[in-house]
């Protein structure tokens, strides 16, 4: 499932995928794949991403009940 919230949070901070990747210590492709729903990160990586974007886990990775 595409993670629009992560993409919006990243763009809100004026960060490119490469810049976020460098901040978190992963590759640009991994950030891209997380945003496009092609990869499920571990909790540890989710926390790193949230810290880099200054948001909580709920804000980015909690699935809304449809």
């Amino acid at each position: 499932m595409v993670n629009q919230r992560m993409k919006a949070a990243r763009q809100g901070k004026n960060l490119s995928q490469a810049e976020l990747a460098k901040a978190v210590g992963v590759s640009r492709q991994t950030v891209n794949m997380i945003e496009n729903g092609d990869y499920n990160p571990t909790v540890a990586l989710c926390i790193k991403i949230c810290r880099a974007l200054g948001v909580s886990l709920n804000d980015l990775f909690w699935e809304d009940e449809a």
């Binding site: 490119s16 995928q17 990747a21 992963v26 590759s27 991994t30 891209n32 990869y39």
Partner: protein, 461 residues
Amino acid sequence: MTSQKFYDERINAECGKIYQRGILYAMVVSLVYGIMHIWSLTSYKSSLITILGFSNYYVFFIPEATVFLFGTVILLLGALLHGRRRDERDLFEKHNYYLTAVKVFVIAAFIGYAVTIPFSATKYINNIPLNYLAQLFETLGVIYLYYTFKKRYIFFNYSFIHERKGIYYKRVFLNIAKLAGALFLGFFGAALIDLGMHGSFLNFFGILYAYAVSVLSLGLEYLFISWTEKLSYDEKEHRGLHIGTFVQFIFLLCNTLMAFGFTVLVFAVNDKNLLGDILIEQGFHLGEIMAELTSIRGHFAHESSVLTAMVLCKFMCQIKDCRLGRKAITGIVILTSVSLLIDYVQTFVVNFLTSKSFEMVISYVNVSNVMSLVITLINSVLWTVLIYDLVKTIKLPPLLWAVAGVRWFTTILGAAVSLFGHQGLTLFYGISGGILGFASLLLLLILLHRHEFPHEHEEYV
């Protein structure tokens, strides 16, 4: 914003699995190769004893045995230490284990070859024995890694490909230097042992020459891949093929042209009316020239197979929506690998059969021609499936079908040559196959590069 130390869990996990499987496949290849090697050499046992001066000709199998032994130890140790997975932390450790283990495995394989040299290069043999197993691993290893990395959208040198060009290439050359350093110990040790055993400085420098050739070969291959990967990674916007894929395609075209050039030369030398008689009058040995030209042509044809596989693997990243096409590419890559393995192993089969009877050699040649035809047929089917999916799913021009048409034409012509063996037909097949093959590749490149591929969801701003 501060940067974290690079540790990509996704890539580490994928690479751990890739290397674990790769070691297993290398062991299987080594086992098959070793069995064929022993089988062929048993025919020449008495000759080997005479030439080598001792009865233990099994030293020839040290490279195969090294690969198999190290592979077994690595996989067993991996299963013992990391077999029982409790949670994701164990998985991380398991993957990290294989990331380190594969480096040890590769170094051990080359040192296994280096150790063989003093025992097989005696004063009676002036040539340093070629390590066909290492060449086979190098070829199949590049194809395997390229396919598995590109399928999972992993760039080579992933931990530093994002660096500026200066830093990136500095690290690339540093990696080559590390490889050279790791191999030097093994080769230099072998050279010293040989000097002690045979007292020949010619052999001593010959072994160091073999070391230099190994490092140069691996280094150039790694440099080429690093260069094309960096080109693709840094590309901001593109239409058509990724620039790295485009560059590889150009190399493929040049290689195909060279292979064709040598095909024409072989025909010309073989023909009395062209070069054959002239060369004989000049005092040249036609047989030796033909053998040399055929060998060089074979080398370029071999490189073309590898480059084709690499281009298709890299191209796979751009056709995410073409599921059938991606499966066809997987099939082509597997077929290329099987074909290359057969090419390497059949030398032993021919050696063995030659010692038995001429009729058995002829029978084997016939079987080999049929196998080659079947492989070409399956290859043509896979290319047809790929082109079908590219035209249907991402709307590439129908002119692309001409590429499939050329493949089928050369396949049918090849079958006719195998059946009838007419010299004129063989000549027509060789020349037309070369020209059409090159033309179809050029058409493929132009059509792919002019196409606007679906956006790949990466942002660079």
